[in-house]
Symmetry: C2
Subunit: 359 residues, 2 copies
């Protein structure tokens, strides 16, 4: 089995059936499958159906309880705090983001802090829901530890992504959706598979010093040594602004774990439940005037950015969210490209659970 | 006249008198002097009284109208949009942030988008006001153009800082206050004065290619050529995440200029008024439960960060806002260190306006 082109609905159905066999109630399987397949459709396979394996491990390790239901532990007209009860991330996030958007529709803004959840997929998928309702969307999450504060050497923070979505006229929303670390771990794995050295600025070793040694750093990453790991955006030290990336990463943990009284990255995957924490926000665009007029103004700014002078050898300046939106449009027409490893994983599940793959 | 140590109140009074002689009404002079001296006290002299010269130029160039009053052009219980009428930045920002904090106190959250303002000083000074009231504070601003989008070569965006302040128990707030560019322009000027090459990742040349040539880049920066300038956090291209810093910088312009229907960075300092735009936010901490409990939890997370393993050769991991708070505490006791250039500037104003400097 090599790579395959699979239709969106087919892949989603297959993923949902696998999740049901892993113990997910059908609605939890449905929303999780959607979140995974949306990532594949946008050519972000690190958050796609290949994650089924990780989700299975989380159940087996006691980190995720597929049938658990989130509960609201604090609520105001503008906010809610949710205890995910170690339930599945997309279900808990769907529960919370829906309420943030409803609150914003009623009052102008809605914010949700969530504790005891699990991996929630691409942050942008939550933020863009608000944008679709003429709201500014926000989605943040902490993650398993992998990264190092400026002047530190210990893995104490996650990739801690931030996402903001702002609606514009005539196009998908502006959407900056980014790990606050320089790169996601998947990029290092690609370098490992190819036997290549990494660029300086991605990772530090067990002494807290920058390294390009992919193999040694991967070995360290999965060892019991608590030191060595990812650098934040801006790299090592302060010269290229590493303290700024670290500040954004720490901000994410304070918004997610701080406000929800949950676990911060350092204590995720300790004991029962992964303890992942999220923060969501929705702010109605018409708090600032006529939403249509604001969306036209945003679109006109982004047009000017697009049309500005290009660097030598470049023919396009991208707006954040464009690449993913274009990839999705292609995938909805032509199908989703699945790599060999992911095809083999689905084949394995298909045989194990007696599910016809449909591709 | 060499460097001088000056008491906070003395420096503030001197700066306020200078501003009055430049045409600021006394209350506008008072708040602007406070904002400038606070930056000096925190050892952020790039935003300190040395800026008086820039403020004078803005008046003479027709970019700032010292006596102008801001007006509210749109308002809801959670938000306001302010037209600064080309007034002075600290007055316009004081006007807006006060109302954001009042709105948050009443409804839970307050947001303010501002157009046609001017330079507002250190972003953190606005955000920390919310933190002092047990609110999460936010302050963003666009600036004069200086920076380059990923794959671009034209200066179309500013340093576009973001600032978030989160209160904690027993210490000044966590406060990440950062230009979204790799470095502020002042750092390049320091390298120029010392005749040193810059590190790669700060600046691109007129072709959009990374350069270390400080002298050539400074010449280009002040020329009529629209190309070449600052890189965003993460540097050139995508390998070290430059597209992420660019995304944050663009986000700032959409929040500031987009929501206020104001001018984005590219069009600041065109025609009448500088057209600088800001965005402020305040979110009450008790939207998420007991504020005291949340502040204790935030403090405990930050303690664990501080106590994590240090890199070889490092003995401290900083929390954002600590350096500035410690510098301020020192300055309130021992006075503020003014460099020679700033002393000479104040001496010049003192003679010109017949103001006794008091130091």
């Amino acid at each position: 089995m090599a790579t395959k082109i699979v239709r969106y609905e087919t892949l989603k159905n297959t993923a949902a059936r696998v999740l049901e066999h892993l113990g997910y109630p059908p609605p939890h399987a449905e929303i999780t499958a959607e979140i995974l397949v949306e990532a594949d459709a946008r050519e972000v396979p690190s958050h796609g159906v290949a994650r089924l394996e990780f989700y299975e491990k989380n159940i087996k390790g006691g980190f995720a309880v597929p049938a658990a239901e989130p509960v609201i532990v604090h609520e105001t007209p503008l906010s809610l705090v949710v205890d995910g009860n170690n339930g599945v991330g997309p279900h808990v996030s769907d529960f919370t983001m829906k309420r943030c958007i409803e609150k914003a529709a009623k009052t102008g803004a809605g914010f949700g802090a969530v504790r005891n959840s699990n991996h929630f997929g691409m942050a942008g998928l939550w933020a863009e829901r608000a944008a679709a309702k003429n709201q500014i969307g926000m989605a943040f999450t902490n993650t398993r530890i992998c990264s190092i504060p400026t002047f530190g050497r210990q893995r104490i923070l996650g990739t801690n992504p931030v996402c903001f979505a702002i609606p514009q006229e005539g196009r998908p929303p502006f959407m900056v959706d980014m790990a606050t670390t320089t790169v996601a771990h998947g990029k290092i794995e690609v370098y490992e598979r190819r036997g290549k050295d990494m660029p300086l600025g991605w990772v530090v070793d067990e002494r807290g010093k920058g390294t390009t040694d992919t193999k040694a750093s991967q070995k360290l990453f999965w060892s019991t040594c608590p030191d060595g790991g990812h650098l934040f955006l801006g790299g090592e030290g302060e010269e290229l602004g590493g303290h700024k990336g670290y500040g954004l990463g720490l901000l994410v943990d304070l918004l997610c774990a701080g406000l929800s009284l949950g676990r911060w990255s350092l204590h995720t995957f300790e004991g029962k439940g992964s303890g992942i924490a999220h923060f969501f926000g929705a702010i109605r665009l018409d708090l600032f005037g006529d939403a249509a007029q604001i969306k036209r103004h945003v679109a006109s700014i982004l047009d000017e950015v697009r049309n500005s002078n290009k660097a030598e050898g470049q023919d396009r300046i991208y707006i954040h969210g464009e690449k993913e939106a274009e990839a999705r449009a292609r995938a909805m027409k032509a199908g989703i490209d699945l790599d060999e490893k992911t095809c083999l994983l689905l084949e394995k599940y298909g045989k194990q659970f007696g599910i016809p793959l449909g591709f």
